[in-house]
Amino acid sequence: MNVWEGVNAVAEATSFCDLWGIGGTVLLDESGELAERLGIRGVPTNVFVDADGVVSAVGAVRPEELERETRRLLGPDVEIEAPGRAQMGADLGNVEHHVSSRA
């Protein structure tokens, strides 16, 4: 959920997702209206939603909190791939691409 981008939200968010290797669905909350409705006060913030559409946790950005809340949401039997530095896409190739696309 990309929020508070200010200007050129599509270009900025696309460049950012390329840099950090962020796949999956990305939605644009350009005005911050959804963030405001949810009481989100900063970034990054995670909102965990269960199968009943009920929020089970908000925040949880430290690696250990993220893992704990994900485990709580998914239950004990689901395998979780631990996020690591490499999976965040923070490699030089991506960074250089990002720079050239920003310049």
Partner: protein, 390 residues
């Protein structure tokens, strides 16, 4: 005057033509919530006011002679000038693209911005109120530190993985020192004349002897180091790790990280109080600023605008704290009268959304442009991750 809590800056004011004043953000409601009760013997940490300044404000400095704050509004490509007494915008000065950090030299009246997307430092003469030059530096400069005694300005150049050394009198880059990828925030310890540069990507701090311009140490810290501050009168160097949500203390005599303590989510701003007894962290994920004792105890926490970053103490008013809120696009002014941990110290509480149904939403998909509805994810378990590119 400054601490007159009842004041409300008038909209309009004496702004020059050519831009519209954004006025002030109304206080009240949850955004103005403070964390102390009146009469707390430990004092309080409370919001006095807030003024809109521009898009994604990051760095902030104060000119003590004029009592004006200069705020680098990175997505507005400009510096917004705020009269602190009235908390009103009095000027806006265009600089290069994406100014992030800002420094001010009292002696010359020159203000410097690190323009991340122009690979330069813009130079503003505040007495003339206009841009007077630019100094080319490395790729994506993101942090600045002024060594007043040495008449040098340093910039952490993110993609060059280096620190540029600028002569502030000649306004020329005179050297570049290797750091590591993600070099950004920098600080100079005035007694040892050592420079500390945080490297966001490699999660380290590079220590440079500013006399020889040699790297003397590289210190591992936590994930995502974002800001660095030196406790006045000491060799204690503090670093905030935005991804780990911690503060690390480095002993500057041994250049070893000796202590790490948790702080609220995603701290990106850090300032060491002038009396040497406290730290301020701006917690970007939490929408708050914390006052911390040197042992990591949180003395108080105040809600500011959304996604705060740059935080400083007023150079003439040690109890006055200024914070740039990147999400809200505003500058907050706070008063800190704390003398220790407050009886009503802010604690992590359960977010009011927990246990509630997530409300319906309909927002465009970044990649397809098509509107996606929350109902698509009904009966599924999912995580909404709110992020911004800055």
């Amino acid at each position: 005057m400054i601490r007159d809590q009842g004041r409300r800056p008038a909209d309009g004011g004496s702004a020059p033509e050519g831009f519209s004043l954004s006025g002030t953000v109304e206080l009240g409601g949850p955004a103005a919530a403070a964390c102390q009760v009146p009469g707390d013997p430990a004092g309080s940490f409370t919001v006095l006011g807030e003024v809109e300044v521009g898009l994604d404000p990051e760095g902030v400095v104060v000119d003590r002679n004029t009592n004006r704050a200069y705020v680098a509004c990175s997505r507005s490509n400009s510096v917004t000038v705020v009269d602190i007494a009235s908390m009103s915008v009095v000027d806006r000065i265009e600089v290069g693209r994406e100014p992030i950090d800002v420094e001010f030299d009292d002696e010359s009246g020159l203000l410097f911005t690190a323009d991340a997307r122009s690979n330069q430092i813009s130079v503003i003469d505040v007495r003339k109120g206009r841009l007077v030059g630019a100094v080319p530096v490395g790729t994506i400069p993101a942090g600045l530190a002024l060594d007043r005694a040495g008449r040098r300005l340093y910039s952490g150049d993110t993609m060059s993985a280096s620190v540029s050394v600028v002569d502030v009198d000649r306004l020329e880059r005179i050297a570049s020192v290797p750091a590591e990828l993600g070099a950004g925030a920098v600080a100079v310890e005035p007694r040892t004349r050592r420079l500390y540069c945080v490297n966001f990507v490699t999660a380290t701090v590079t220590v440079v002897d500013t006399e020889s311009l040699e790297v003397v140490a590289t210190i591992p810290v936590g994930e995502g180091p974002c800001a660095v501050a030196i406790r006045p009168g000491t060799s204690d160097v503090f670093v905030v790790n935005s991804l780990a949500s911690t503060v690390v203390r480095i002993d500057g005599t041994t250049n070893v990280a000796v202590e790490e303590f948790p702080v609220p989510n995603a701290p990106v701003g850090l300032f060491a109080g002038p009396a040497g007894d406290r730290l301020y962290t701006a917690n970007r994920g939490d929408g708050t600023v914390s006052v911390l004792g040197l042992d990591g105890t949180e003395w108080g926490r105040a809600r500011v605008g959304t996604a705060p970053g740059g935080v400083i103490v007023h150079p003439e008013e040690p109890g006055l704290v200024l914070v740039a809120n990147a999400g809200t696009g505003s500058l907050s002014l706070l008063e800190d009268t704390l003398s220790g941990p407050s009886a009503t110290e802010a604690r992590d509480s359960v977010h009011p959304l927990v246990g509630e149904r997530v409300p319906g939403f309909a927002l465009p998909d970044l990649r397809t442009g098509k509107v996606r509805h929350q109902s698509e994810w009904a009966e599924k378990k999912y995580i909404l991750n709110f992020f911004a590119s800055w």
